[in-house]
Structure formats: structure tokens, C-alpha cells
Symmetry: C2
Subunit: 766 residues, 2 copies
Amino acid sequence: MNASTLGTAVPQVTARAKVLGRARYAGDVKVAGMLHGKVLRSPYPHARIVRIDTAAARALPGVKAVLTGADAPRAMWGVHHKERRILAEGVVRFAGEEVAAVAAATEEIARDALDLIEVEYEELPAILTVEEALDEEAPGVHPGRGNVSHRIDFHIGDVAAGFARADLVYEATYSTHAQYPGYLEPMGTVAAIDADGRLQVWTSTQSVFQARMRLAAALEMPVSRIRVMQATTGGGFGGKIVEDANSLIAGLLAIKTGKPVRLVNNRLEDFLACCSSVPERITLKLGMTRDGIIVAKDVRIVAECGAYSGLSAEVMHVTAMRSDNMHRLENVRSNAMLVYTNNPPHGAFRGFGGSQMQFALNSHIHMMAETLGLDPADIHKRNAHEAGDTSVHGWKIGSTGLRECIDQATEALAWKEKRARRQAGAARSGVKARGVGMAAAMHVSGNRTIGNWDGSTVVLKVNEDGRVIVHSGECDMGQGAMTMLAQIVAHELNIPLAHVHVAPPDTDVSPYAIGTLASRVTIAAGNAAILAGRKAREALIGLAAQKLELPAEDLEIADGFIRSKLHPDKQAGIADIAKLHIWRHDGEGLQVSATWDAKTVMHGDVHGNIAPAHSYAAQAVEVEVDTETGQVEILDSYVSDDCGKAFNLLAVHGQSNGAAVQAMGWVLYEQLQLENGRLANGNFADYTMPTADAVPMLRSGIVESIDPNGPYGAKGASECAILPGAPAIANAVYDAVGVRIAELPITPEKVLAGLRALRERGGSHA
Amino acid sequence: MNASTLGTAVPQVTARAKVLGRARYAGDVKVAGMLHGKVLRSPYPHARIVRIDTAAARALPGVKAVLTGADAPRAMWGVHHKERRILAEGVVRFAGEEVAAVAAATEEIARDALDLIEVEYEELPAILTVEEALDEEAPGVHPGRGNVSHRIDFHIGDVAAGFARADLVYEATYSTHAQYPGYLEPMGTVAAIDADGRLQVWTSTQSVFQARMRLAAALEMPVSRIRVMQATTGGGFGGKIVEDANSLIAGLLAIKTGKPVRLVNNRLEDFLACCSSVPERITLKLGMTRDGIIVAKDVRIVAECGAYSGLSAEVMHVTAMRSDNMHRLENVRSNAMLVYTNNPPHGAFRGFGGSQMQFALNSHIHMMAETLGLDPADIHKRNAHEAGDTSVHGWKIGSTGLRECIDQATEALAWKEKRARRQAGAARSGVKARGVGMAAAMHVSGNRTIGNWDGSTVVLKVNEDGRVIVHSGECDMGQGAMTMLAQIVAHELNIPLAHVHVAPPDTDVSPYAIGTLASRVTIAAGNAAILAGRKAREALIGLAAQKLELPAEDLEIADGFIRSKLHPDKQAGIADIAKLHIWRHDGEGLQVSATWDAKTVMHGDVHGNIAPAHSYAAQAVEVEVDTETGQVEILDSYVSDDCGKAFNLLAVHGQSNGAAVQAMGWVLYEQLQLENGRLANGNFADYTMPTADAVPMLRSGIVESIDPNGPYGAKGASECAILPGAPAIANAVYDAVGVRIAELPITPEKVLAGLRALRERGGSHA
């Protein structure tokens, strides 16, 4: 019997523990003698710390440690630039920056102790906009350095010549805002010193090995003196890769007190401590032939990283480059700069810079299509790469379902019919105007830019009962990595899914892994899991062949046995063979390891085949705009994800729908309200993420463009699906009422203002 | 620089944690919501359980579960025979057998609950001696089965012909008593159900994988649904291999309550629950030529396993066979039977049956030497095997330092001089008589009888800082396995010992391992560690050779670098190479695995080359016997251990001295007082293990007979060193006062009785 679940809809292997409330998130970790940590944050976006008096806090009964920047190691941490201290010393650069940390017997005492810490600040002028930051007179956010944190400049082909042969050249500026990752589990860590004096860390993370590396750097310890274990993680969305200080502060408190310390953000603290997505202003100039072929692209990007750059430079790279690889472009130019301000830091976020550019690009294509009398869907399809192509940046396109995604999404919305009806004026009913919009996007599955490795290792232990333990260092934050690995191993060994246990990542135990980012885990760890599964299968079948005196080619694994295909009565139990693998001369426990690395090759830092495969997505939406209130309601949405082979239909649809909602939140509802650099709405009442009643019944489809590099043809699912949502909605709003919102979010006020401007200009949607 | 510590005296890598009180023993494991378990035990050696009423116990506030045999799985557990239930049902077979178990909010409540359990017993006639057990009319301890649990019969060569050509044939019967293992940490377990419903067990054990297997069998679960982690273990001495029910009961309580449960024996409970060593009555008949060559050996053994046989059958095998391999014997016969009684179970104990036979054999040789006018040391040396020999049971002797051990120990005691003085009557001073005794012994290093594997696997992870994590499933109970592994890996990589971290055994993580028994870990895991260390070294040097563009043969690891021997300025940091191993095309974290299996081959169950190497020991002691009180005082003791290459002088001497003390305790002080089958002295006040003032300044020596199969020539240390103590002391007592105590322990009463008998016979020591 075929026990495989690949391609079916199965509940995630982590689901039961979560539903039953048994999953152990970082905040659930309880260690004997554990203290509770709290962090004092700067109320000012920019200030000099004149004096900190911790005496009263230290004197509070139950307080075990009160640490300030003076107590923290001298090391600086950060990804691109080492520019941040665990606790600020001398100066704070954003409202929310960590100034002091307390460990106390209870969380209440720790909170009370914060109130007793006296900090005398001398406020400094704060730079709160990129315009201020780029002013020649502006002081540096980081002294001695200009406010440009990073620049990108490239020019491939001949952009001027491209524009010269264009029939239509269109330029516009788009502005995107920051989005809070909105995971349900705030960042949290329990840190403890073990019996050997090593630092043990249970934390909510997307990468235990990057967390370890960062802890080692910030705490000035050898990595081997640190053990990072992933606790069950309730969402990451990019925010739990490497940019949070939570685990660093917990680690410092544990070292200083010698006691276990629990440091779990409450929601406000998480809003203040997290990295929201990078706000970018994108000026896009495209040249097209009259039949919609893009002949030149010129883009200027000003991105804001806030006070510390984190992963923002890498995010901006993606904004500048990734969408170029979706279309057959020849002439592209990009000029991008990342700017420091005294706002809270920005950084990695699901889509990793793709959302910003796809908003601009898809809005742009919609406008140009209109001018040229074309269907924007057709423009995407006409320009789309085909499998076998190499893109302008050297990306080898092994598979693409972009056209199928566009067709699937638009057909599901009756795109052509609705556009026709709208053009006939039928989409209007009183003050309500309906419109449809679409957008398309691409994403990577993997990313060869960290060192020169884009691989993953999977270790399988086959126990004496024929069941398997899988070790991988890649993190599951809810997206389904553990289920994916279990499905693959079960498939290769043809054993029930329940017979595979995936151990959570642990730096002392798991094979080295980059972690969960760049939609790389299914392709990298999935391929490694196939290799490891096959190694284990070969070992089992080889030994059974010896025992049964049959050729290995005649044997298969099925129903708990290794049996002859020709003589099905000749068989041995998997468990018996697993035992025999140990209990024989020259035996050993059956444990195999396999590493897969992408075959990609980069030429220099940015040019080259960065990823082994690429996902594509398209989305079509129908909205209704209330022309009296400016309110936009999404009536229907269909997102189509080309994730290659879909292993788990439940997981892919869940991820696609989740991505669609997160995009809807960004474009319509969510906005971090900064008032003089201070966050005013750091809670779920005021920061309005979409709830179930704010979105329509979500629909999603899967396109399986089997990728030659993917495990069974699979690619990364779901990250791509967040990309087309914002422009599809913006385009639908434009379709409905003729108002082009180029500055996100699309608020009723902006819609009304747009309608007013239209009326003043005598436009059609009066 | 050579960073190796091999052959020096280094503190164990576990020492710091223990000295600072940070080591986490099972009893120190604290899990949130943990309940406390207690066990109700039978007060009768044999009884029918008529009725158990747990209602009152269950009603006690704070009690979460009260379990009896009816609540336990139907499965039987045990090593040789599956004959034991987790909790007794229907009948109890020894006083101390587990009848009910309670889990409650506190240990105090659990204890109170025990008092509220009403058990109505119907006492049954108890079989308390092997004589009663072997009576033809005796009822079976286990119904439907005779009271002989196991038999061994072998006859190799021609024993009758051997005796026929002997100049001296001597027969005597020796009796040995049970010894409590006396580890400082009683058995303890914390068991919990994890988020996925798997059973997690932290326990004090010598083998996590055997513990897992036993839990799976007894709890009727697949092994893969169980994770066993070794907590720091405070001594095992054989008692923590597979025979204790502690972890099974803790596991059952955790499953039934769904909560973590801590079950830690107090000292009395441990006395009642543990397996003490196997008492044996040995009738030994030896034939010798006049120059002391042993020409025939015939032995009859009646061993008592108590109510459940555990590992007693295997212990009796060792008694019957092992000492035959110490001498060049040709004609040996053995008839042994293991007998059930209603006494508490016996089983594995340091020396594993060797102590019993070596007591008989060495006592015997001393007596025959006297008759023949020979030095017993010379008899051992004349009969001793040489390297290259194959013994009567097919053991291939790769190395032996037996003669050197005998010389070292006897010379240290001035053996010849003291014997000469005694023979001249000079050892007498008033009522005090001095005498010297010696004994010799051999032991295995490894044991190919579990399945057909006698190997071990070691996994090394090299971290990005060039430091190493070692994974092995072999347990350290204080004897030094972790230090041994760390020393070997550090030696192979030429890195500081502190740069190697040995992870504690964990069935989810560690490579499969048999566990710590049969002095197998240094030879099996040590060899695997060498292989793994060399693999890691090759990988590092190979990559450095590529990077430095130098031949690998020219490179060495030293001082944190991989550098050219020819051009020492050409070098790369180990950490840089370890990082490069990941961060390159086709990279991966550097993790290697190596398995070593002994090259031994068995022919059938018992005949064949059972172990890859053999340890030897000899001990010489001087005693003073008070002829008025019968008190024996050990004045001097020197034990010489041939452990092959000694890695850690501190550890070997510590183990040798510990073994010597444990032997002294057995022979002079320790005795389990059973009154009608009930233990009367289950505490350290009444069970008198020797304290520091009861032993002389201990002396020990090392003989390094480099074994071709051993890691750098090493063999198992320390287990052999327990074997010669008892007969050396008995021989010294005989030497001092002419009283031959053949029935252990040597109590003052027996000495006085012997002196009285001598006087009555007109003997010399009147």
C-alpha cells in the first residue's frame, strides 16, 4: 500500500499539540528558579543618556539584576553593519530602544523595578523623515557616518536606448509604508546557564544557528558555549530571523544573574522591539511598445531603515532587482539608497522587499495597459519568461507557471466579463462602485547570498521499531516545515506519516542550517530529506536483500514490511531489519545524513543565478468602493500560487489565504502611527489587522509548474502569494472609481480626496 | 603545540559542574506542573493480593493517581525471562515488590496516600533459601515453572583425565553474599508527556537505549514514542543497567496522569528496589601438578536470583566461564544453576559475577600453593596466558599484563619479605597477627553477546568556532566516559580539552549505543571517537589544503590553526576552515559519524572470542587480625590494574581505589540482613559500607599492556580492580591466623569461630 500523503490534504504534524494547548512556546518554557525579565525603553527618538540611577530599582525586594549599557559587552551586533549594542550606551536612536533590563522574581516586580530606574535624558533633534535625513545639514543618526546606510546602483543593457524605442514611457512615484509582522506569538526567550556554564536559549526564532551566531557576537562568547533551541514558534513573517534583541537581552540577564531568565514581550513591547517592513519610495519609469512589451525600466528607490539597518539593505536589494526577473527585460537601471532616521528599525518581512516593488510595478502596468488599450494580464503574459530562459540578472528560469497563475486567478474572478461590464458602466450601483484588479509576482525559492551556500542537511535516525526521527535545523514557525519533512521521509520510506517524528531545531543537535527565510526550506531541506530518505531506504532494502537472499531491485517497502515484488510472501518486518542493522557484526544504529546544495552559481555579489527555483503568483480581486465614505470593501479575491508540486493542499491553501489577508491588511487597514517618532498604536485594538469580517471568503488556487530543481518539482509556497495583493486591490480601486492611490495604505480619506480631485478635474467617477 | 591530555592527570570534564552543585541529577530535574510519585511495596516475601482498596488514597486532596497492577499494561518485562509486571497483580514474590504507585502534588501527600491504601494479603509460604527452592516438594516461585531459572553445563577437554594426571586435587566450597551497589545517588526518574504525546524520561541510568527498550516493552509502546535522556548519574555499578522498575513506574504514572512525575528513591526504597549482586555457592575442584600447573578444573555453582531473574543468568555465565580464560587451561567443566527464591532480586554488579569466582579460585590457589610449598603469585604467573594465546573458551588474548600486575602489587607490599618474616613467626605481636594475601583476576573489555554487535558510534559536530560537540549514547555514571571521549577527540584534533563538549546521552539524538556495561565504553566508544576525530581532522585539513594550496600531508593542526609544517607562516584558523566548510558551494556544517565494532567472532552462544581485549588486575594486602576480637584491619593494600594505555591517571587511580574499597566493603563489612525475607538494614547506618577510617591509605598502580584492539592500546579500567580484593583479604587473614573463611563476609564472629576450631584441632594459631 502506498502510505504517501504527498499531494493530499493532511493536518500539519504540529497541529494536534497546538490545538490541545500542549505546544510549548518560548513563553511556556518553565525552568526551576526562573527569573522574569523586563526591558526599559527610550521614550525619545533621539537623546543623550545623561545619567541612569538604578539604585532604587536594585533595592526593590525580588529584583536580582538591573543592567544598563555599562553592563553589556562592548560588542556591536547587526547584520549588514555592526552598529547596535544590546543595551544602549550614551545615546538612544529611536523611541523604544533598549536602555535597561531587569531580572526579578516575578514579572510584576520586574515591571515595578522599571518604574524605579531613573534615566536622565537630554533630548536631541530627531530625524523622522528620509527628507530630513538626506538634508545636507542633517546630523548623522550614527555619528561620523552619513545618513545613507547603503546604496545600490546598477545598469544593465541600455536603458536610454530602450526608452528611445518605446511607444509609451510612463513614470510615477509610489510610496509604501511599514507593516508590523503581526505574528500571534510575540518574541520570547528563556535563557539559562547550564551545569557546564554554557548558555542555553529557548527562543521563538526562524533560525537557531543565526540566533546562536548573533548571541555569540553580541555576548562575546564562542558559539560552542551557546545552545539555541527553537521553542514552538507562533509565526515569524521575517520578523524573527536576526533582528530582534529579545534573546540577546535574555541571554545577558541569564549570564549576569546566573539564573534562568524568561523575557517575553507583551504586545506593546513587541511592537516597539520588532522590525516592521521597510517603507520605500519608488520612482518607476517604464518604457513599453504599443503591444505591451517592456523595453526599459528605470527605478529610483529611497528606503528607510530607521535607526539601525538590520536586514534593510538586503530587503532593498530585493526591491531593486527581483521583479526584473519576472519579465523578459533587457534594459534595467536601478538607483537605490537606504536611509537612517530616528524611527524604529525596519527590516525583513514576508516577501522581503518584493511587496514594495510589485505594488509599484503592477500599478504601473495597469496604468500603461489602460493607455495602450491592453489588458494588464496580457502585458504580464506577453513579457513573462518561459522555462529555460535566463533573466536580465542571470537567473535561470527552470519552471514558471506565471501565465497559468494569471489565467487561473483572472478566470476565477470572471475578469474579462467584469472588465467588459465595468467598461459598459454596469459596475455602478448608487454610491457603490465595483472594480476588478489583478497583479502578478515572482519570488525566489532559495537564495545564494549568505556565504556561498544555499543548502540544507537532514539527518534520519531509524529506530528499532522501524520508525524515524528527523533532524533538521530549519525552523517551522507554523508554515509547515516539519510536516513537509515528515511527508517526504514517509513518502520515501513508504511508512505512515505518524511514524516520522521531526525533532525541533537545536544547535547542539541539528545539522547546521541557514534557517527559514527566502522560501528556501521546502526546496533545500526537502531535497536533502529526499536524499536522506533514499539513503535510509537503500540501507534497509540492502540489508533485507541480504537476509532474504533476494536482489534489492526486487524489494519494496510496504505495509510495515520489506517484501519481494515477485514473491510477496517473502518479506521481513521493517522493525526487524532496523534491529538487524544494529545487532549484527559490524552493525550500528541506522542513521544517515544527506546534504543538498542548490546548483546555482553567482557571478559577483548580485549578478547570477541566485535561486534554484522561482515561485510565481497572481491575484485578482473585486472591490466595491463607497464613493460617499471612501470605504473599500473586497468582495472577492482569488490568489493563485505556482509553488511547483504542492505537497499538502491544506497547508498551501492556508498559506496562500494567510498571505492574501496579510496583504489586504497592509494595503487597507494597517498603519504604524508614529507621533514625533513614538509609536501611538502599539496594540491590536488600534493597529487594525484585518479580522475575519474584514475579508471576503478567501479563494486560492495552485499551479504546479514542476521545477527540475525542486523536491518532486516543489518550490517555496506562500511567500510569493503576499506580493500581488496590494497592487491588485489598488488596481481594482482604480478600476472602480478611477482613483489611483500610489501612496499606501489606501485609506477612505485618500479615496475621497482622489474622488474630489477627479471631480475637480471633471473625471469620470464623479 | 601538542594540546593532548592523553596519559596525564586531568580533572574529569564533569567535575566542575558536580563540585559547584550544578550537575542536574534526575532528582534535580524540575518540570512545570510536576507531580511526585511514591511506591507501595509488599511487606511479605510471598503473598496473594486478596484485595486492594485505593478509595481513601484517591480521596486525599492532592492525590492525582493511585495505580495498582490492574492499571498497568499486561506486558511482562525482564531481560532473560519476561516475568515481571510493572506493578504486581495477584501475587507478590518478594518483600519490597511494587504493589501500588501514587502520584500527588507533593512527596508528603504521596507518602500519606500510601498509608491510606488498604491491601489485604494472604500470606503464602515463602522460599527463602536455595535449599528450600530446590526441594522436590517446593512450590514454584513462578507458578508452573520449576525453581531453576537457568542452567549452564559445559565440559571442554577431559576433566577426568586432567585430574588423573594431577599431583594435587583439592576441592572446597565457597559461599558469597549479595552486595548492595551503594551508589551515592539512588535511582530516580522524571517522566513527562511531551507536546506530541511522546513519553519523555530523564533518568539515572547506564544505558538510555536499553532503558528505552525496557520502557517500550513494559508500557507496550513503540520505542519511537519514548525519549530517554540520561540525567547526571551518581554511580551505577551495574545496578542501573536494566533491572530497576523505577523508570517504568514513573513512566506509567506520567501516562496515566498526563503530568510530569518525579519518582526518586530514598535510600530505603533504593535498598528494596535495587538488584544486589548474585549470591553464589561455588564448589571448586582443581587439579595441579606439583609445580603448580592447573590441569583440570571442575566447578558446581548454585546461584540465587531471588524472585525475578533479571541479569542473574548472565552474571552466572560469567562466574562459570570468565576466570577460565585467565590461565592456560585445557580441561574445564562447569555445572551451574540459577535458583528462584522469594528474596529480593539479584543481578548485575561491578565485576558481573567475576568477584564470586575469583574469591573461590584465588582462595583455592592460595591453599594449594601452601600444600605444594609454592608462592600463589608464582602459580598465577606460571599458568598465565601470554599475548597471542587463545584460551580454553576461544578468547584471543591480545595483550596481558597479568604477570606485571602481580609483580607490581606484590613488590609494593614487600610480599616475599613479609611472607618470609611470617613464616619465621615474626608477624605476631601479642594478640595481633599480621598476614599478607594476594589475588589476581581478569575481566573483559567489551562483550559480544547482546545481539551480535559490540560496537559504538560517535558523532562529531565541528562548530563555526572550531570547537566540537561529541554525541555518544554511552553513559557516564561518574567513571569518566565523557572525559575519555573529550580527551580522544581533543587529541585527534590537537585542540584544548575545553574546546570539546560531550553531550549527554539522549535516545532522540545520540547514535545508538549499547550502554555502559562490561567495561566496554573505552574500547568501543573510544575507538569510534578516534575514527570520528580522524574523519573530522581529514575534512578540516583537506579543506585547508585546498584553501592554502598546499598538500594535505604538509598540514597539521596546532594552536588553533591548520598550518604548513614546511612553511609555518602559511596557515588558516581552524574556525575559519570550519566556517568555510559550511559557507561554500556544496558546503555543509562539518558533522561526521564513525562506528567501530570489535573484530571478535563468537562460535555459538558462549564459545568464541567474546571480547576484543581483556583487563587484568592483581592485589596484595596486609591485614592485622585481632585474635581476641576477630576484627580484621587492612593495613596496606596495593591494587594493580592492567587497563592498557591509561588516558587519565587521576581517573584510573580513582577507579582502582574505589574498586578496592568496594571489595573491602563486600568482604568485611557489608551484608544485607534479611529476616524472613524482609530487609532489616536498608540504610547507611545499619548497612555498613566502609568509610574512610575503615580503609588504609589506598595504593594503586597501573600496568599498560598496550592492546592491539584498544584505542591507543587502552582497555577497560577499574571493573577488573574490584575482583582480587576479597580473596586477597581472605588469603591474608588465612596467612595471619590460619583461618580459612570460605563463606563471606569475613566477620569477627567467623574469625573467632575459626580460631576456636583451630585451637580445638591443635592448630598453629592458638
